[in-house]
Amino acid sequence: MTWLVWRQHRHQAYFAAALLAVFAILMLVTGRQIASQYQSALTSCGATHSCGNLASTLTLGTPLLSLLAAFTVVAPCLLGVFWGGPLVARELETGTSQFAWMQSITRGRWLLVKVGWALLAAAAWGGAVSALVTWWSSPANALNQQRFQPGQFDIQGIVPVGYAVFAVALGIAAGALLRRTLPAMAITVGVFALLRLVIGQDLRSHYLSAVTILNTFGHRMKAPTGSYWLVSQGLIGPGGRLLTTSSLASGVSINGVPLSEMPPACQAVAFQGPVKVTSCLAAHGYRGIFTSYQPAGRYWAFQGIETGIFVFLAAALIAVTAIVVLRRDA
Amino acid sequence: MISFRLDGHSVVPPYLQIVQQVRQALRMGVLDVGDQLPTVREVVAATAINPNTVLKAYRDLEREGLVEPRAGHGTFVLRRPPGPPPGTHSRLARSLAHWVRGAREAGLDDESIESLLRVTLQAAAEEETA
């Protein structure tokens, strides 16, 4: 059966391998350039003891390259659509599943081998892309401390493997349920995007309870360090209520609180400096500023939890696929 | 080796057609004593008929004593059906062809020849019983 799976999909495999090779070469070549760029920048700033500002003055690589790296966030979805969608659906559509099932191989074995290889290949391909991007991003991670941020979190580490396995499982399940390739592909894109959005935006911040720092006015500001993930921040109002700043607010901010969130009187004295703004806010009853965040040390815990969620969902989808394929009329 | 031609539209069942064609071949001298009949598989491959039909025909011929199966080798002709030797047939066929030519020249079509033949056979049969 493995022979048949290979024979059916070998052109797909060659294409994916070629694509990966091109990507790898690109990443490896530019990655080394970026690494040496960073090293020399460190050396020169170290000599002048001005490394504190490095993050705002140094740009690593080119915007195009950063775009390419960021683009790998769609890789799992593509795998799901092109490898997962047609895997079972195409065979049900064309009737070749009937041919296979009337050889002396049970439906269970047929499904196991096909799905097994598809998920393995997805994990391997997704993992290879992620490894390349993670390695390529390590100077940027060290410089900008952004790896825990949404966007970077999704394309580095082990979560892309979880996404890839889930996307392919989703494609397979959609195909088995709908029995048509194109609708299955469409459903895969839709459901995958939706789930990633929901889990990434809403669920992720709740994996572990965020740490909250309360900075009351008049005391020394304590700030989180390293590549932490800012979950929410805002003013501490009268009575100690935490007034979260809307994440959509933009513009100038003092200590992380946008001017637009402050009473107009304090907005007026903004140009006079942060000390004046602080005393103005204190006069209006605000007690201080709070920061809720996930500490940098929890990065791998979060990676593990999110990967686990997606792998669990993938397993559930495969279970559904198995029930549908084994029990339904051919 | 003879080959069989089966007429799907004939009222004669297929197995009987095979029996008749074997007998005819023996009479005409196309098949001789000791010759091997085509194997069931050969007949079936050529005519796409049911193998049991061929088996039935060969069993009938065996029962008549015309053929005998030899295990592992095939079915072989044992003896000819009672009647004049093959030479008679070819001799009579030639004179019949000559007569038919004459009848055609006289203006008879196939249908008239056939009905003439039928009437003559009937008259001859009545003569024999009389």
Binding site: M1, W3, R7, F99, M102, Q103, T106 | P51
Partner: protein
């Protein structure tokens, strides 16, 4: 006694039926096919032929009734699957793979596999084995599919309208290949078709389906011997109906033609009796149930 009569049964069903939501595709099907037969499954579209074949192959699950194929229930078991060959009407093959690829796939997936027989057959029919199967003609694809199905050396072969899309020569070659495989021994065949002339030639057993029910099941010779056609002046048929089943009766102003079934002889001298051929028999049974069969046609077609 014909040694065939004592043959074990390759297929036995009792009260088998299949329902899709509101439509009954097959109702109360009780048949028996002895081993070694080539059985013709005849019936109009929508009569349940494909459903029956799929139930026997284990591709569909019955809604009720009993079915035994080669002594066991159709099930997901490699040993059982190895004994059954099924060829669907659409002749599903991997279009981008060649016949050779299919042969290799078969070798990997089946315990018994006669690759040489496939290659010999294809060579004999001048079908290229290294070309993508999708580029072959319908007749060539059917031959490839049949050869592959035979290569697994099944004991039972189920074919759903295998010659429907073939030209006369391809049809003849296909049936010859099939008959040859049966002649080699150890094989029972059930094939569905519309072409009664072909069926009469190659089949020795008959199952007639109409309106999703079995109308006839038995050896063709026996079935034909049980029926006769009576032609006579237009008159009352109660006397006939006492001892026989009237399958179909057609009347003109002056004449009646009856297709009857029954062993008792017809004594009334007004009736002229004649034997019946397979095509006439089939038409008689199908004609008699035409309106309900057509009503079932549209319903089944929509649901599937």
């Amino acid at each position: 006694m014909d040694p065939q009569d004592a043959a074990p049964l390759a297929i036995v069903t009792r009260g088998l039926f299949k329902r899709y939501r509101k439509v009954t595709a097959l109702a109360d099907c009780s048949i028996a096919v002895p081993e070694g037969r080539i059985s013709a499954l005849i019936g109009p579209n929508g009569a349940g032929k494909t459903t029956l074949l799929r139930l026997l192959a284990g591709l569909a699950r019955p809604s009720g009734g009993a079915v035994a194929v080669l002594g066991g229930t159709p099930r997901q078991d490699p040993a059982f699957l190895a004994e059954i060959g099924f060829l669907a009407q659409e002749i599903p093959l991997y279009r981008r793979l060649s016949a050779e690829d299919h042969i290799a796939a078969g070798a990997h997936l089946n315990p018994r596999w006669d690759a040489a027989s496939v290659r010999d057959r294809l060579r004999g029919l001048n079908i290229p084995a290294d070309q993508a199967v999708g580029t072959l003609s319908g007749g060539q694809r059917a031959q490839v599919a049949l050869s592959l199905t035979l290569a697994k050396r099944p004991r039972l072969l189920l074919l759903d309208e295998p010659v429907a899309a073939l030209d006369p020569l391809a049809r003849r070659q296909f049936l010859a290949t099939l008959a040859d495989a049966v002649a080699a021994g150890g094989l029972t065949v059930m094939l569905s078709s519309h072409l009664v002339a072909d069926m009469e030639r190659i089949c020795d057993h008959l199952i007639l389906l109409a309106a999703s029910r079995v109308q006839l099941c038995g050896d063709i010779d026996t079935v034909l011997a049980e029926h006769q056609v009576l032609v006579g002046p237009r008159k009352d048929t109660t006397a006939i109906e006492r001892d026989h089943t009237v399958v179909q009766a057609t009347h003109t102003a002056r004449q009646s033609t009856l297709l009857i079934r029954g062993a008792a002889p017809v004594i009334d001298p007004a009736w002229e009796a004649a034997g019946v051929g397979l095509e006439e028999l089939v038409l008689g049974y199908l004609g008699q149930s035409a309106p309900p069969a057509i009503a079932h046609l549209s319903a089944v077609g929509e649901d599937q």
